[in-house]
């Protein structure tokens, strides 16, 4: 398969501070690739390098077969870009702004702008600087999508969007993929991209921690287990569960003539089901795998994981905060 983005040994320093320490990844054409990481991990810096807004200190980049440093306007017309810190303060209406970008990067299919505006529920006749954060974000998405570019580079695309619009956005990403477009998007939370992305890179402190398919992450992810059973003592239940591979954090309470038990499961569910088969279950809940938790453990397992998030940066969950 052809690759839409190839990044090899990408390094970037601002002054004496290196923020990307040699990043390698590939995005196959026609796929959706997510990069996840806390603020300050280097997601925005990586994306800006792809668009030649900033220049790498070292490494090779290929975007749609060209070096972004020399691809020029021709290359950038084939890309739709949503900046992470979107600023639209001009005294123009959304429609005029989009007309302007169409004049620069078009052509745009007739009616495409209105169609997208309707889907995102965005009023194009208001002045951009009077728009709320969410509406500015919609306008930013619109200018990235409107000319149906071969590659979409979207930095924190769901930031500021309400859940309904987030769903609409995910549908737009799926449609783009169905049309053969490639999507490269970032987020600081996995849940925002796990529905859309085929593959996910996890970035922390300027290094890629892991690249995996969402399915692989799902397999390595933890599930929360909760059940109630009758006719068994707490000790027996605890011992029985404790023997199942991948089960940990077992907590048992006696309830009536039976028990209530909670635990976490990592890995495959087969052995657990066998262990549960002999019990008289009155209730059983095995939750969806929590990818968020497994990703956070990946941040944490590698070196001093979470410590870096505290002093220098804002909380990863905070919306609309800065990230470089």
């Amino acid at each position: 398969m052809e690759s839409a983005i190839t990044v090899e040994g990408l390094r970037k320093s601002f002054g004496s501070r290196e923020v990307l320490h040699g990043i390698d990844f590939q995005v196959q054409a026609g796929t959706v690739f997510g990069v996840i990481g806390p603020n300050g991990a280097g997601k925005t810096t990586t994306m800006r390098c792809l668009l030649d807004i900033i220049r790498p200190s070292a490494g090779t980049l290929r975007v749609l077969g060209q070096d972004p440093r020399h691809g020029g306007p021709g290359l950038r017309r084939r890309i739709g870009y949503l900046p992470g810190e979107l600023s639209l303060e001009a005294r123009v209406t959304g429609r005029r702004l989009l007309d302007h970008y169409e004049a620069v990067s078009g052509p745009v299919k007739r009616g495409r702008i209105d169609e997208l505006a309707e889907r995102l529920n965005l009023d194009l006749d208001r002045h951009t600087r009077k728009l709320s954060k969410g509406n500015k974000q919609k306008l930013g998405l619109l200018q990235a999508f409107m000319h149906d570019p071969e590659l979409l580079v979207l930095d924190e695309p769901t930031s500021g969007l309400d859940p309904l619009v987030q769903q609409e956005f995910l549908a737009m990403v799926r449609e783009a993929k169905d049309r053969g477009q490639t999507v490269f998007l970032s987020s600081h939370v996995l849940s925002e991209v796990q529905q859309a992305a085929d593959e996910v890179a996890i970035l922390r402190d300027g290094r890629i921690v892991t690249i995996a398919t969402v399915d692989a992450l799902r397999e390595s992810a933890v599930r929360h287990l909760r059940f109630a059973a009758s006719g068994i003592t707490a000790d027996d239940a605890g011992a029985r569960l404790g023997r199942v591979p991948g089960v940990g954090g077992v907590e048992v309470l006696t309830a009536g003539d039976g028990v209530e038990l909670t635990a976490v499961l990592e890995g495959s569910i087969g052995p657990l089901v066998q262990a549960l088969a002999g019990l008289q279950l009155t209730d059983l809940v095995l939750e969806e795998p929590d990818l968020e938790e497994s990703v956070l453990r990946l941040y944490g397992n590698n070196g001093n994981g979470r410590r870096g998030n505290g002093s220098r940066r804002r909380e990863p969950q905070e919306e609309g905060s800065s990230h470089a």
Binding site: F14, R48, L51, D52, I53, I54, R55, G72, P73, G74, R76, R77, I79, Y81, P83, E85, L86, S87, L88, E89, A90, R91, V92, R96, H100, Y101, E102, A103, V104, S105, G106, P107, G140, Q143, A324
Partner: protein
């Protein structure tokens, strides 16, 4: 559809409010100053009053020629209020064109589209030049219209030359602001640089005229290059006009190179 010079059109058309505002300000200043010339500048009492002022002050304010229509127009419109308004306008445009746009985060998005950085700087600079030319034309036309009724007795070719130097002087401040904004990515640095060119030029002229020992200050003053030979009375010093416009053009080119070579928004 893609169309020619989209950045120029956006920079020019979207700033029509600002252009119109400065045009109104310049017109008001001209309409206030020039019609009262017969009762002020041309009168004998006024000349006596000027003679009573300290000569340093009259020189600093260019009031030494205020008794003639052309000297009065030179000192009040071109030398003071018009110079002030035009310089503020071009410096704010120049600093906003790249530095301000970058600082507000909007440049990043524009550069991610199908434009080159050189094209961006050139088209935005062209929009600034066009606005300056329009304002200079307005000043030229208004003064010409008042020439008879205000008894100014200005020759139109001399007035034209003065307007060319007036525009060139303002452009120099504006392109200095553009250049430093493009170099640093900071609007405030651009504003400071543009204002410095305007203010220092004015001060060097005012101080340099006080004594022959300070003549060298005049050579450093774009204000003096433009107005040293009183163009409204004597016609333009075309070499000086060439310097003003030429350095401005060079600063535009340097701005595009500066932006071309660096990271944006980091």
């Amino acid at each position: 559809m893609r169309s020619p010079m989209p950045l120029f059109r956006r920079a020019f058309v979207d700033s029509w409010r600002s252009t119109l505002g400065w045009a109104a300000g310049l017109s008001a200043a001209i309409m206030l100053y020039l019609p009262i010339y017969p009762s002020i500048g041309g009168s004998a009492e006024m000349q006596q009053m000027i003679n009573a002022l300290p000569p340093e002050m009259t020189k600093a304010l260019n009031y030494d020629q205020i008794a003639s229509g052309s000297g009065y127009t030179q000192a009040t419109v071109f030398g003071l209020i018009g110079f002030l308004l035009m310089t503020i306008a071009t410096v704010s445009w120049g600093a906003a064109a790249v530095g301000g746009d970058e600082e507000s985060g909007q440049l990043e998005l524009t550069l991610a589209h199908g434009v080159t950085r050189v094209q961006l700087v050139l088209e935005r600079a062209l929009a600034m030049v066009l606005r300056v030319v329009l304002l200079a034309v307005l000043v030229f036309v208004l003064i010409l219209a008042l020439n008879d009724s205000a008894q100014l007795q200005i020759e139109s070719t001399h007035l034209f030359g003065a307007a060319v130097e007036f525009a060139g002087l303002a452009l120099l401040s504006g392109t200095a602001a553009l250049f430093v904004g493009a170099l640093s990515g900071r609007k405030s640095y651009g504003l400071a640089a543009g204002a410095a060119v305007g203010v220092l030029g004015y001060v060097f002229n005012a101080v340099g005229r006080q004594s022959p020992d300070l003549d060298w200050l005049l050579d450093l003053s774009p204000y003096h290059w433009a107005y040293g030979n009183s163009p409204v009375a004597n016609g333009a010093d075309w070499a000086a006009a060439g310097w003003l416009w030429g350095i401005s053009a060079a600063l535009v080119l340097l701005s595009s190179l500066a932006l071309q070579r660096r990271d944006v928004g980091s």
